[in-house]
Symmetry: C2
Subunit: 411 residues, 2 copies
């Protein structure tokens, strides 16, 4: 309601004034994550863009039943409540299945893994502090650290063995003492690479020797397609690894339910940070997820997900082999949703995306969305094999290859 006065000048001045924003947010106006979700939601495209699980694979009926039962059986299921202890015990059992046993009292339930990232950051990072990240990594990490205006130290990612841990060791030996190292050892987003066991051991040893916490982001840990998944970092160390898990990729994103497994004595402080963020994660959702896990159907569901996603991965890899130009290289993921494709250096994938949407009705995420520090990854793209069925994946790759054929000479 603008007060109309005799002075139009005054009214104009009032209308032009805006609150002074905190410095970190002033220059920012767009969100790459949000744009990815919008892109992936468009029905007129074949989207290999979003990191979205396939909703046709959600255990929707089982979850609907669990919700209805929780509401019917507990008159306070919609109330503010302390964390639901049975669910923490069930998460502890999942952690054991994941190869990283823990106690229920080391677990903090969170509103998805993104909130868990934010909590870890808030616990560990000082303003203008240092963090070590890979030079292409999950874009939500960049969003979580942005308000701290940190010094971001980057290390390379080898596309077959993961993070350059030697580089981390050198940074640590130089006495740089980062607040934490952020790692996605399994189903790396965006690179789809699995960190080798040797590197896992080395990274944990560096963390111990130099007293550097590791934030291990593991949204895809239960979605492994090989015979013998490697142990998470948390299995190798309990004092320096902050483990982050989520039900978003294994049950459904709209649960907004994840968890942290924390070093001893930090759960109480993490709880304070969590509470400042949103008081608590939905008590109804906690009860419904617990009821669903109680049915014992989750294990068979995970096996089915692994089977379907493995086939889609194989479809994507075969289609790339068949259709993509010889100059392209890509990763072969052992878990997660993503294949990382590198094209010749003169191909700019950000402008290529516009052409892909306009000319071929297909979408991907340009590599630069994940770029930290000096690396730009402008000639790379992330392809997801999770959201679309196999025929759409094949057709999507055919469309992309037509687009590339018009830009890359065949030899």
């Amino acid at each position: 309601m603008i007060q109309i006065t005799n002075s139009n000048m005054a009214v104009t001045a009032i209308a032009r004034d805006v609150p002074e924003l905190a410095a970190w947010i002033r220059g920012r106006s767009r969100s790459a994550l949000r744009e990815m979700v919008s892109l992936a939601s468009r029905a007129d495209l074949i989207s290999l863009a979003g990191g979205l699980p396939d909703p046709a694979l959600f255990p929707t009926r089982d979850y609907a039943r669990a919700l209805a039962e929780s509401l019917a059986s507990d008159g306070a299921a919609l109330q503010y409540r302390p964390s639901f202890e049975p669910l923490k015990r069930q998460v502890a059992e999942l952690m054991a299945e994941r190869g990283a046993p823990c106690h229920a009292d080391q677990i903090l339930l969170t509103t998805g893994a993104q909130q868990a990232i934010t909590i870890a950051v808030s616990l560990l990072l000082e303003r203008r502090g240092r963090v070590v990240v890979e030079d292409v990594t999950y874009a939500g990490l960049a969003e979580a650290i942005a308000p701290f205006r940190p010094e971001v130290l980057t290390v390379r990612t080898d596309l077959s063995s993961g993070m350059d841990v030697d580089a981390v060791a050198r940074l640590a030996a130089d006495g740089l003492r980062p607040a934490f190292v952020y790692a996605i050892p399994d189903g790396h987003n965006p690179c789809g690479v699995t960190m080798s066991l040797a590197k896992r051991r080395q990274l944990v040893n560096v963390a111990r020797r130099h007293q550097i916490p590791i934030v291990e982001d593991d949204p895809y840990g239960l979605l492994s397609y090989g015979a013998a998944p490697l142990p998470p970092l948390r299995a190798l160390d309990q004092d320096w690894v902050f483990y982050l898990g989520t039900f978003s990729k294994t049950i459904a994103p709209a649960l907004r339910l994840g968890w942290m497994v924390l070093p001893a004595d930090l759960v109480g402080r993490a709880q304070i940070v969590k509470e400042a963020g949103d008081l608590e994660s939905s008590s109804l959702t906690q009860r419904a997820v617990s009821a669903y896990l109680d049915t014992g159907r989750f294990q068979a569901h995970i096996r089915a997900l692994r089977e379907v996603y493995r086939l889609r991965r194989d479809t994507l890899l075969k289609a790339l082999e068949t259709h993509f130009p010889p100059a392209a290289r890509w990763t072969c993921p052992e878990s997660g949703f993503f294949v990382w494709v590198e094209l010749p250096p003169d191909i700019d994938c950000t402008t290529l995306l516009d052409a892909a949407i306009q000319e071929e009705r297909v979408a991907f995420v340009p590599g630069e969305v994940f770029a930290m520090g000096a690396q730009r990854a402008s000639n790379a793209m992330r392809l997801s094999f999770a959201t679309c069925a196999s025929d759409a994946i094949e057709e999507g790759v055919r469309r992309l290859s037509r687009l590339l054929a018009r830009r890359i000479p065949r030899d």
Copy 2:
């Protein structure tokens, strides 16, 4: 997994080392908010403690139906999704009913009002920046600003007309330029006071003249018990007021669904902050709440809530009048859940709470939980009339008055 070596000294050293935490969290280990929820959840007490709506009043069946319908009708209701636009339009209609019309595109959906507070804080507050708050106010605000280690400037709260806006004007005239002023004009938590219309106008004028944003926290705005609720601050200004609303008190807390109404051009930036916090609020919940609002039953539900809570307020006030010592003073709330009771200065309500639980099985929240700055409010308590039925409220007050009778001479 602790490596066993030949050197016990080394093992001990590893076990003792812990990650270095950010400075703001090092000294903190308990959460007053969490303790309140735990206290309010104890079945062996009459609790006048928590700010918890009565679960018997939740529209549980209607919401269960809305959830089931949303899951059945939308195959991607559990997916990552852009904000549900129909819900934003419905929130805009609620804002009009609340007396503060806005456009749907000025709304950001949030994971409850607590997340909305955190977003406003992150947008506006610099590290070591200044904020203006009342010297007793909602404890979740203190949690949200703590990581910034701000300079907290406090103003008094008059128990019949609300915030001392003259004091705010003086701070502003002194050129102190706080990042924002935090206000709860209706159903003040913990004081239960309504800010007078004159003070609302004055506060908005101070904000405009000195270009100071106001964060208006309005969780109880729709729960008013008088004939003619006053306009929210947002109705008096659209450029400087950040309005925060929530369904937690009118539908149910476990929705974890709230909203902000923002000055023009800030929604995009607020979205970035929100996304860093938890990506998005549950798409299923957004659809289910929208479906519930679509039934048209929300308005009758709100009228019923007002009726019940008004009767409980009256019961609490009458019981205080009947049983409490003459030396006690308390507020008469026009909206919200809370009555603020001030006792003689020598009564310490924090130690009194232990006695109340032990001797009389009754709980309240000691005033010091809400104290900011120099004020300690040690002789005050917050009583909630929302959670318990009238007979329990009466019995709770009788128990408290027995406790006080053993401590306060009758004349």
